[in-house]
Symmetry: C2
């Protein structure tokens, strides 16, 4: 299933432990895709472990690349974040250049999608790492959304609230200026109701931490999202 | 004439003086387009002056935006540089965000083209300004070209040698990895032979400084480029 049609995705952190039973429930939940990605302590071993344990299921798998040393063949998609509100070129295109110099000649570009990240929670690890430490205003978010769609023609604009639940008005503002680029919402969804609310605004809703805290709640988000009509 | 078919363009610096006679000769030379752009002392008055004096001719006009305060309606195209080898996010997407916040709601996006710049001459003003002070290697250039085409899907990859004549082998290396993105070459072309050489490798050749130093030589580059078959 093409990531451009995903409504719901689970994001698994290769640095965290998870049981085979939980993985099976997630993979067979009806979710549209599973994203493997995290910020800290991402190792090739961790990525390969999840890949091996998930590949038996039919669900599409995407690797969100945060560390070039933890990249492996075998995924359906490779999501490449570029942090639009980083203060350091390293996170905008620096590590990307290193990766392109090493792997550029062997990439299957149809499997690659660049994600224009806008990090909304300055307290989160990703914000601290990339220097995205100012809270973007609504005007900033709309500007970054237009940048993603029109200047860089990115397939994905990713509003990352990481651990906090976002402001639906602000997410709507981003949605209102996107036509071609997909709006992905991630962060702080802990209930079916929250998942449904964001699914009514964003094209794709990503469920992360609650997987590790309350698997049942996490699984309930699948049907909640599927019950909502996708925005245009 | 669509900029995606330009083989030859003149670049005029709004901070430099030029006579009406010279402008007429350039505009009616058979060039495919005129780009208004520079690094230092770009003012709205300077831009409007060139616009007013050139708009009577049929040649397409593009404004290469370096300063948001010097942007005006009336051009056919707005080229937006993003400096891929800058060390400061300001030149990658920072001033872009400011511009999008101010003008994003009124842009005609079909007139806008983002140029992925790779600045090859660390001594030039643009390099000093943007912190692009390391000389990119061949591997860097190939990496940036792939970044422009695949990660950011930019319509233009611009190798800017600014005042120095480039290495055809290195320009060829960039060309060899581009399929959708146009390769634009600029810098140091002072003769018809040099223009022809770069036109055999790059899609578009930009002629700048020699306009102000030796107009006759500048005009000779038009036929020289047109005599060369465009690379794929």
């Amino acid at each position: 299933m093409d990531y451009r049609t995903w409504r719901h995705a689970f994001k698994l952190d290769p640095a965290k432990d998870i049981s085979d039973e939980a993985l099976e429930q997630l993979a067979e939940s009806g979710t549209d895709g599973m994203i493997i990605g995290g910020t800290d302590n991402i190792t090739l071993e961790g990525v390969l472990d999840l890949l091996a344990r998930l590949r038996r299921y039919a669900v599409p798998l995407a690797l969100e690349v945060s560390d070039v040393d933890a990249v492996t063949f075998g995924f359906d998609y490779y999501f490449i974040p570029t942090v639009l509100n980083s203060t350091d070129v390293k996170w905008m295109n620096g590590i990307h250049l290193d990766a392109l110099k090493e792997f550029g000649h062997m990439m299957k570009w149809e499997e690659v999608a660049t994600e224009g990240y806008c990090i909304m929670n300055p307290e989160c690890k990703a914000a601290q790492l990339t220097g995205a430490t100012e809270v973007p205003t609504k005007e900033d978010v709309v500007g970054y959304a237009r940048m993603a769609e029109h200047l860089f023609k990115l397939p994905i604009f990713y509003l990352e609230y990481s651990g906090t639940y976002g402001d639906p008005k602000l997410v709507s503002a981003a949605a209102s200026v996107l036509d071609e680029t997909r709006l992905v919402y991630g962060g702080g969804i802990r209930t079916a109701a929250q998942a449904a609310e964001m699914a009514s605004i964003a094209h794709t809703v990503v469920i992360g931490n609650v997987i590790y805290d309350d698997l049942k709640k996490a699984l309930e988000t699948v049907d909640a999202v599927k019950a909502v009509t996708s925005p245009k």
